[in-house]
């Protein structure tokens, strides 16, 4: 069986960043992705990213994706596409990664394996939620920005995190009307500047509201909104009916952890990071030796942090492969930690910082 120094599952921002670090250190690395194109969700991010200018802030997401792909090509990273990974097995030589490619089961052994599988959108259930026209916000984003198809003309967005705010904006850029954004919580979850963009375009934001039901024969035709009290109970008499053809759901992400469960990783439950998270240490290594996690699987955050976690896991794996001395690795990892901590400060980042600290403490807890 073929064996390489590192196998990375998932070719999104975290996986690509990890592969770049290992390749830079001189390691032979293979990235396996189930999609036809690497880059994960980066190629549908048409907005300019936040963060530090030194680190690609102000650059549009798809341009960051292009840069990462260019680097992986220049460094000779091998990327296997259209290849869903379905199993991880312990092997004396490392970890065997089983995947489907061209209709055949195949396998490769990585001395180190990094899981960068990302996250999936959460669903929301309400009467009418199975009607065509109700979709994840990420789905709508793929339709408009990758496939150039407008899912509908009149959209109601649910969820005021950055995903809901950004996709609302992009739907309007694509030519749709966003009639309203509703948020069950009493305040807006995402950045005020993202909210400001859709407000300037005339979209109202209803905090303390949710969808009561969606009506329609064969597709979404009407959407009934209702106000919620502080205990998230519907307030009778506050219903409001809007004519719409599309409902987008942006109510958080759940890490795609199946492979980590299969591999026997120990988990912890942190709602703020999306639910069950494989316990990992400061090197992003799980409780299964040689198996690392990076990006949303290690706690759903955002793309800039995912890239940093990818780098961290890549450097750590390269160190474990003796491609870096402990001293060099220490310096490199400290640089990543500095940037990552900066992304986790402020009123929006502090909670994620605390949650990650809690996770690291769990890892250190001698488990």
């Amino acid at each position: 069986m073929r064996k390489v120094q590192a196998v990375i599952v998932g070719g999104g921002p975290a996986g690509l960043a990890a592969s770049i670090e290992i390749a830079k250190a001189g390691g032979k690395v293979v990235v396996i992705d189930e999609n036809g194109k690497p880059g994960g969700q980066l190629f549908k991010q048409i907005h300019k990213f936040f963060g530090s200018r030194e680190h690609r802030a102000g650059v549009r997401g798809y341009d960051i994706g292009t840069q990462l792909l260019k680097e992986t090509e220049e460094l000779g990273v091998e990327v296997i596409l259209d290849a869903p990974v379905y199993g991880l097995f312990r092997d004396p030589a490392g970890i065997m990664v089983s995947y489907m490619k061209d209709g055949r089961e195949q396998a490769i052994i990585g001395e180190k394996v990094i899981l960068a599988t990302g996250a999936a959108e959460n669903a929301l259930v309400f009467p009418g939620s199975t009607l065509p026209g109700v979709m994840g916000a990420g789905c709508a984003q793929t339709m408009i920005n990758v496939n150039r198809v407008l899912p509908g003309q009149k959209v109601i967005m649910v969820g005021s995190g950055n995903v809901g705010l950004i996709v609302s904006y992009q739907l309007m850029q694509a030519g749709a009307e966003v009639l309203a954004l509703v948020e069950a919580a009493p305040s807006i979850g995402g950045y005020g500047v993202h909210a400001g963009k859709i407000r300037r375009a005339g979209t109202p934001i209803y905090v303390g509201h949710t969808i009561k039901r969606v009506l329609g024969k064969t597709q979404v035709e009407k959407v009934e909104l209702v106000a919620l009290d502080e205990k998230f109970q519907e307030i009778p008499g506050t219903e409001k009916m809007l004519e719409a053809d599309t409902v987008c759901i942006a109510v958080g992400l759940t890490p795609l952890t199946e492979l980590a469960w299969l591999a026997g990783c120990e988990f912890t439950f942190i709602p703020l990071l999306g639910g069950h998270i494989p316990i990992h240490n400061e090197d992003m290594e799980t409780t299964v030796p040689g198996l690392y996690v990076a990006g949303d699987i290690a706690g759903a955050e955002e793309a800039s942090t995912a890239m940093e976690e990818g780098r961290l896991s890549g450097i750590a794996a390269a160190e474990a492969l003796k491609l870096y001395t402990a001293e060099d690795a220490k310096t490199l990892k400290a640089e990543v930690w500095d940037r990552m901590n900066a992304l986790r400060t402020g009123p929006f980042g502090q909670k994620r910082y605390d949650a990650k600290e809690q996770l690291l403490a769990t890892a250190k807890g001698g488990k």
Binding site: Y191, I198, G346
Partner: protein, 170 residues
């Protein structure tokens, strides 16, 4: 009903005035100047590098609110298209005796034409006044973010922040 950026998505004038991104009343009288409407401490600093005059400081930590140095700001507007939040505007209060110029980032098609009269809106997108499009700026460096400047009656220099999309809700 409570207001403020966390509830409505729109910073109140009190929230704006409490930030270091807003220059003094005296500075507005002098000449064109950048107005940074960034009221939340988010990890972001492209504006700092965008200013060739060192008039915007974020520093460390990166979550600091941008501080504008009103003496150094020349009102060139180079920072506008570099802000991922589209939260920087350029305002010339005394554009003429009776009008002000407001410039803002605009990422929609169709774009208006220079000289055209357009409905101008506030931070909530609602119609405030008609304005004349002065200039459409679109360069490679701005990476897809177009800047539109409009001439509006002077009393609206701190209110007009966009043109109403598709005519808006006039």
């Amino acid at each position: 009903m409570a207001d403020g950026v966390k509830i409505t998505g729109i910073p109140t004038m009190e929230e704006l005035k409490a930030t270091p991104g807003l220059v003094s009343d005296q500075r507005f009288e002098k000449s064109a100047v950048a107005v940074i409407e960034c009221v939340q401490e988010i990890p972001c600093n492209p504006c700092e590098k965008a200013c060739p005059f060192g008039a915007i400081i974020v520093g460390s930590p990166i979550t600091n609110l941008p501080v504008i140095d009103e003496d150094k700001c020349t009102g060139c507007g180079l920072c506008l298209a570099q802000c991922p939040g589209l939260a920087i505007f350029r305002v010339e209060k005394n554009y003429t005796d009776s009008t002000s110029m407001v410039e803002f980032p605009f990422e929609y098609y169709p774009l208006p034409e220079e000289g055209e009269t357009v409905p101008c809106g506030g931070r909530d997108g609602q119609y405030i006044t008609d304005g004349k499009v002065l200039k459409i700026k679109k360069t490679k460096q701005m990476d897809g973010t177009t800047l539109v400047s409009v001439e509006v009656p002077k009393q609206y220099f701190m209110d007009v922040r966009t043109i109403c999309r598709k005519g808006g809700s006039k």
